[in-house]
Amino acid sequence: MKINHHADDATIMAYAAGTVSEGFSLLLTAHMEVCSHCRERMSLASDLGGELLCEVEPARMSQEGLSNVLSAIEADIIDPVTPFKSPSASSDMASVLMEYVPRGLDELPWQRLMPGIRQYQLTGVESGNGSVRLLSISPGIRIPHHTHLGGELTLVIEGAYEDEIGHFKAGDLADLDASCNHQPVAVGNKPCICLIATDDKLRFTGLLSRMVQPLIGI
């Protein structure tokens, strides 16, 4: 899959440091299942974490620490093997999303927001004040004007859209921050389905955002 739009370096670092929201980690994982460019940068950012860990000021462990640990591993009946989930090759859907969309996109109880725009909110993803949702936008439909006061990640699952930044198709990730003010429009002959995660630190304070938020929720 040729991917043209990626996560920002600052986002990759926050992901490696573990400071992103659950929704962001879900979306970034879905992207990285298909994107080796971001996976490589994630590896480097994780190496950075490892080096920083080696240089952290050590703290004396409690007297019983080691014996506690040894007792715990001795209590293991068999050595549990917890395999890493490997990317699924059988489906176009990122394997990390299958948990939330088990029967495919068509079977979701989509909710109509306005003509040409449907949404499905992923339940069970902790996202604080933000949200994680799928949007389905019919061809030619434009998302109402909105600004981002926090971070927003958009991953195209199916179809394509265009905005001031460029053309986004399946696998592409838009990593937008507060300075961005965009108006995406779905292009092509089938609906554009996107996964959108907003930051859990997001605060809606602007008049425009307050007006748009109840309408579309992003």
Binding site: D9, A16, G50, L52, L53, E55, P58, Q63, V69, A72
Partner: protein, 198 residues
């Protein structure tokens, strides 16, 4: 057992252990379930993991528990470690970080497997030692040491204190954009220095 514990308490501050030693220990744990090698890993990493948990805001008792629990996971997951994909410290960091997120922030944390050939890890451990990460980690350590102070500051706040971009921005009274650009500059130096085409 007591003698061993004492030995490690005394060596807690000894940080100059070669990277190859930690890899040898982890390999012995993965291949032979070697308790002695595991105790060496404990002596080296547990105090650092505890230090990391303290920086993340855990109290002393919780940080101790979390460091212990991380070590238990290292024992249990040792056979997943792939020396071709990452340095031992990187792998240990990920285990500690994921536990910290799970226990302290009570969040799920999704992460793509950076090592996609988990099934062949034991084989890799045995046959691919020449592909070790020692040179890379030395180079990376040097590059990190050369980062300007203001860039290192934001990196540390993110990695050690678990602060999001906006929290770093509040802490330092600088705009979020500045936080991000410092992170990008720091990461850019590491990327170029490591010669990655990324």
């Amino acid at each position: 057992m007591l003698a061993v514990t004492k030995l490690f308490n005394e060596s807690e501050n000894m940080t100059a252990i070669p990277v190859s030693d930690t890899r040898t220990w982890l390999r012995s744990v993965a291949e032979r379930r070697d308790r002695h090698a595991f105790e060496q890993l404990y002596g080296y990493f547990a105090p650092k993991i505890k230090g990391y948990m303290l920086r993340q805001g855990a109290d002393d008792a919780s940080a101790d528990d979390l460091a212990q629990e991380t070590m238990v996971q290292i024992w249990r997951k040792a056979n997943h470690y792939d020396p071709q994909k990452a340095a031992v410290s990187t792998w240990v960091f990920r285990v500690a970080r994921n536990l910290q997120i799970d226990r302290m922030r009570k969040l799920k944390f999704y992460e793509v497997a950076l090592n996609t050939e988990a099934s062949s890890t034991l084989e890799n451990l045995q046959h691919n030692e020449q592909l070790e990460h020692r040179t890379d980690t030395d180079k990376l350590r040097k590059l990190i040491g050369e980062l300007p102070e203001e860039q290192m500051e934001v990196v540390q706040l993110a990695f050690f204190e678990g602060l999001s971009h906006s929290e770093v921005s509040c802490r330092l009274s600088i705009p979020v954009g500045t936080v991000k650009s410092r992170l990008r500059l720091a990461f850019g130096k590491l990327k170029i220095g490591m010669g990655e085409k990324i």
